[in-house]
């Protein structure tokens, strides 16, 4: 069974701190995604990676960057955390290829920036 693990379930950081959210998958998936979930807005794509060192901006990349040095790990970086980045962050992974490939989600990191 595919496992997508997010390193923290809850995280509290101060404004201006550099924050790393880590995501690891164990099934050799090429694609990895970071979503942000907010009430009334659903999930929105922040960044997407389709291979090691390859990344693509999603719908709301401002204030975020990502790193994918190894295939199994995809990190979301908040260079200088702000209160409007308080949210739930969900990581997902999938195999590459034509047609449908199921997405596998982690259990989310609830980040609070004070």
């Amino acid at each position: 069974d595919v496992k997508v693990t997010q390193s923290s379930r809850y995280l509290v950081k101060r404004t201006g701190e550099k924050v790393f959210l880590e995501c690891v998958q164990d099934m050799d998936h090429e694609n990895m995604f970071w979503y942000r979930q907010d009430p009334g807005l659903g999930l929105r794509l922040i960044y997407f990676s389709y291979d090691v060192k390859m990344k693509e901006k999603g719908d709301i990349p401002e204030g975020y960057s990502v790193s994918r040095e190894k295939k199994e790990r995809f990190s979301l970086i908040l260079e200088s955390a702000s209160t409007n980045q308080t949210s739930m962050y969900l990581c997902a992974s999938s195999l590459a290829g034509r047609g449908y490939r199921p997405l596998h989600f982690g259990n989310g990191t609830r980040l609070t920036v004070t």
Binding site: N31, F48, Y100
Partner: protein, 115 residues
């Protein structure tokens, strides 16, 4: 760009009743997938049902079925004989057939099943 709209922020029904969650979407694509995901308090995103746009037949999974109206760009989820364990956030989502498996989500509907 694709958009997905869920116009019901919250719904509440009694156990064993049937409930229908609404979803509309906008796209210029002809081939795509539509999904309903369930997110219980554990936060785990669980795929409930998937519909391929090229299939006219509505997808069903046990107590869950969809009403897919391609021309109207409508994709509703019907839960029959609702159970307490169905209490969760439900998200409608869209994925293009081509390219990476990027999902576009609706705003979500919080469904509560009352005993």
């Amino acid at each position: 760009a694709q958009t997905v709209t869920q116009s019901q922020p919250e719904m509440s029904v009694q156990e064993a009743e049937t409930v229908t969650l609404s979803c509309t979407y906008d796209t210029s694509e002809n081939n795509y997938y539509l999904f309903w995901y369930k997110q219980p308090p554990s936060r785990q995103m669980i795929l409930v049902i998937r519909q391929e746009a090229y299939k006219q037949q509505n997808a069903t999974e046990n107590r869950f079925s969809v009403n897919f109206q391609k021309a109207a760009k409508s994709f509703s989820l019907k839960i029959s004989d609702s159970q307490l364990g169905d209490t969760a956030m439900y998200f409608c989502a869209f994925m293009k057939d081509q390219g990476a498996q990027k999902l576009v989500f609706g705003q979500g509907t919080r469904l509560t099943i009352n005993p």
